[in-house]
């Protein structure tokens, strides 16, 4: 949407640099984005959900989905042993079939980053760490930055931060924007490289689709590498319509600025059928450019085993059941 950028207040030549010049310009821009019709969005997501993915297409999609998983454990009860075991699972998801691809990343709390990093050394699997007082984000800025810096120092390749939903819902957009900027800064490593920044909206708390579109643009302008739906810790997590809307946002953002941003639905995606629906949405909204772990991820824990069972069924023609995949 080239005119979208051109219409943006303060935008010059497709750039969005001046949008966040002040609270007023940022608000004007975000509230000037096209509205979202709830009924229409939900019906489009439902229609895409009726695509029938069979045989070769299914085999392709299952392997793609496995390779896109951020295999996650975010429990108070997490231990070094639990994290190591999860890493082993991510490295070799199906011990009975070494052709099963690796997952994209292991996602843990900051204090488990070093353990995961050690277990995954040399594998190419990323270590993602939640940060910024995940999941509520209710802490002061110094705490959030320290949380981030600690994870990065421990070797995290990716940081999954949460936005301040309280600030967003009370209209303090610039505050949210600057927080993302600051966390992005904290993602820098001494060698000049930086951890990838994924920004979690907690769409279940933002409630409206208009809010999700505004949060997407705010976050992308602030420099997020990925936008992510949810923490998995509230009642409503990733849904197909919310994800579709975010896919449309990254599509429009690239058209406006040339910058490509990734999308990560997280929480509540448990079955192969669900994963297929998400991949169909990516395929028909964004196409090939986003069909890789570099640009699309699933934040999930139980999804992997269902994908593996379906993979075994495609390979052997038999559905062998949950005792033939590993529980970690």
């Amino acid at each position: 949407m080239s005119t979208l950028a051109a219409n943006a207040p303060g935008a010059t030549g497709g750039g969005l640099a001046d949008v966040a010049a002040s609270e007023a310009t940022l608000r004007r821009f975000l509230h000037g984005l096209p509205g979202v019709d709830q009924v229409g969005l939900e019906s489009r997501a439902a229609t895409l959900g009726t695509r029938s993915i069979k045989t070769t297409a299914k085999a392709f999609a299952i392997d793609l989905a496995i390779s896109m998983i951020d295999l996650t454990t975010l429990e108070g009860a997490d231990t070094v042993g639990k994290v190591r075991s999860l890493c082993a699972k991510g490295l070799s998801p199906d011990p009975s079939d070494r052709t099963a691809p690796q997952v994209a990343a292991i996602c843990v709390y900051p204090d488990m980053v070093a353990t995961a990093k050690d277990a995954l050394r040399g594998s190419g699997i990323q270590v993602a760490s939640v940060a910024t007082a995940f999941p509520s984000g209710r802490a002061g800025m110094p705490v959030k930055l320290a949380d981030t810096a600690e994870a990065v120092a421990a070797g995290a390749d990716e940081i999954d931060m949460v936005i301040d939903r309280g600030a967003f819902l009370s209209g303090r957009y610039l505050e949210v924007f600057e927080e993302i900027r600051a966390v992005k800064e904290a993602c820098r490593r001494p060698d000049g490289s930086a951890a990838h920044l994924k920004v979690i909206f907690e769409t279940g708390e933002l409630q409206t689709y208009d809010n999700v579109r505004r949060a997407s643009w705010l976050t992308m302008i602030a420099g997020a590498d990925f936008i992510k739906t949810s923490t998995g810790k509230v009642a409503v997590n990733a849904t197909p319509p919310v994800t579709l809307l975010m896919l449309e946002a990254v599509r429009d953002f690239r058209a406006a600025t040339g910058t490509q941003v990734g999308v990560k639905p997280a929480g509540g995606i448990r079955t192969t059928k669900d994963a297929m629906k998400y991949l169909v949405m990516v395929n028909e909204t964004l196409g090939d450019d986003w069909l890789s772990p570099h640009w699309f991820r699933f934040g999930a824990s139980s999804l992997l085993n269902d994908l593996l069972m379906q993979r075994q069924k495609l390979r052997t023609g038999r559905y062998s059941g949950p005792d033939y995949v590993t529980v970690d």
């Binding site: 080239s2 019709d37 489009r44 069979k54 299914k58 793609l64 196409g287 069909l291």
Partner: protein, 502 residues
């Protein structure tokens, strides 16, 4: 015919829409065998039995996706029509004197059988009509059942429908339906007629008779009394004989405006009650504050749903000039993802054009669009070798004077016009002999109401399009016809509301 068309299509400049994808969907075909057994030849359904025609002429129905003949069926003669009307007349006395609650039982039973046999009916409809299985499965069949359920509910409540106490049925209803939604149009006609106590003689379209004949089996399965529903097949000659029959009390027609006009002439001066649901050239109006992504979906659904074979299709896109480029870019991108092909593939979005004749008409009008100076665009997509196909097509630079802005194309062809102000949008939208439907896309609620009050169209959709529901009346202004189908209003054309005996 198809071959000729393929050639002209191939000559069109087409722009690449989508690079060959990583994630290609493997074929996901619905089994044609699910349609059940299709007989090699069919007679009429009269007085509760399948009977041979009194004539010897037979017509053929083909699968428009393959051009293969599916079955032969009888060309109904005047004598056949007369037998059917007599059977309906004979059944009328008992049927109309049944308590409404008893008639409702039959309608509920039909609705449930339709649901139970919905896969069979969806596949059969897709094979005979060419429309994608996704639509027959998710739209046509659920609506067919919903119509029978809805009007079953009215059968014992007619005293409270607002037509005075004890409104009476008319008698024998002659019903002629089109080929675009064969079973759904049957349901729109048969359900209210039976609920109100009329008996019917229905003629399905000559390119799509199979689901109506299968419906006859359902009437038998439901134990519907003989003669309450009669089905006579044939082309326009049979239809004309039916609407002209002197013992018919009510004529209901859905189809083209020229045929509707000739029926109106034929019936002038008779006591037959008439309702017509005819053509359309709906404006789908997009304002610059519209929810753009959903508007694009609504435009696609408005014109490419059912290959554009929809009388209320949003065939004229009126877009506000300030948002034109952005919207058209998004629309073209979206059109590039439409999947055209085998109607039985569960992932097909656009199926086959219903007949060679209809394909010729679409091709001719699209050519006229180019000749008159409009710019043609279609996404690149491979069309199957056999069968009748037409790419989803967009015309920009269309003016009100162009034929493609005035005539009903009844195909997957969208004409794009622009406007500057709400008043201009209303003026252009209303500047058509038709008035069946319209769409408004804006986030501003007050503007929706302002527009809806000024648009001369029977249905005005706001931020959606082509949404149907049995509770909602449907029908036209001007040359789009008169009378309403659906909802409480849909009872009136089948009731004597003028002379009430108390």
């Amino acid at each position: 015919m198809a071959k000729t068309n393929k050639k002209t299509e191939a000559e069109q400049p087409v722009q690449p829409a989508k690079a060959s994808g990583l994630f290609e969907y493997a074929p996901a075909p619905e089994s044609p065998a699910a349609a059940g057994e299709i007989a090699t030849s069919y007679g009429h359904f009269i007085g509760g039995r399948f009977v041979d025609s009194s004539g010897s002429e037979a017509l053929k129905t083909v699968n428009p996706a393959t051009e293969q003949v599916l079955a032969e069926f009888a060309q109904g003669t005047e004598e056949d029509v007369d037998r059917a009307v007599q059977a309906a007349r004979k059944a009328f006395a008992d049927w109309s004197s049944l308590p409404g609650s008893e008639r409702a039982k039959y309608l509920f039973r039909i609705a449930r059988i339709v649901q139970e046999r919905s896969r069979e009916l969806a596949v059969l409809e897709s094979i005979d009509n060419g429309k994608p299985i996704r639509e027959t499965r998710d739209v046509d069949l659920p609506l067919v059942a919903a119509h029978f359920f809805y009007y079953a509910g009215w059968a014992d409540k007619l005293d409270f429908a607002g037509f005075g106490p004890n409104p009476r049925p008319l008698g024998v209803a002659a019903q002629v339906i089109p080929w675009n939604f064969p079973l759904l149009m049957l349901a729109w006609k048969v359900a209210p007629a039976l609920a109100t106590g009329n008996t019917v003689v229905l003629k399905p379209a000559e390119t799509t008779p199979l689901t109506a004949l299968r419906f006859a089996e359902i009437c038998r399965q439901a134990g519907l009394p003989d003669g309450v529903v009669n089905i006579v097949t044939g082309d326009g000659r049979t239809g004309a004989a039916l609407t002209a029959h002197p013992d018919v009390n009510k004529v209901a027609f859905t189809g083209s405006t020229p045929v509707g006009r000739s029926i109106a002439k034929q019936l002038a001066g008779t006591r037959k009650k008439l309702s017509l649901e005819l053509g359309g050239k709906a404006a789908n109006i997009v304002f610059d504050d519209a929810p753009l992504d959903q508007a694009v979906e609504g435009i696609v659904n408005g014109i490419f749903f059912n290959q554009g074979h929809v009388c209320c299709a949003g065939s004229r896109l009126l877009v506000q000039e300030s948002v034109q480029d952005e919207l058209l870019d998004a629309l073209k991108r979206r059109m590039g993802t439409l999947r055209v092909g085998d109607p039985l593939d569960k992932n097909t979005d656009i199926g086959a054009i219903n007949s060679a004749a209809q394909l010729a008409r679409i091709t001719e009008l699209a050519a006229a669009g180019e000749q008159e100076g409009a710019e043609r665009w279609a996404p690149e997509c491979e069309l199957p070798g056999a069968g009748y196909w037409f790419r989803p097509t967009l015309f920009t630079g269309v003016s009100q004077a162009h034929r493609i802005a005035r005539e009903e194309i009844f195909g997957p062809v969208l004409s794009v016009l622009t406007f500057r102000t709400p008043a201009e949008a209303v003026e252009k939208a209303n500047n058509t002999p038709y008035g069946l439907s319209a769409g408004i896309w804006t986030e501003k609620g007050s503007r929706i109401l302002w527009m809806a009050n000024r648009l001369r169209a029977g249905v005005v959709w706001a931020n959606t399009f082509n949404k149907f529901d049995p509770t909602s009346p449907f029908g036209g202004y001007k040359e789009s016809g008169y009378g309403r189908e659906g909802g409480r209003h849909g009872l009136e054309p089948y009731l004597n509301v003028e002379a009430l005996d108390v």
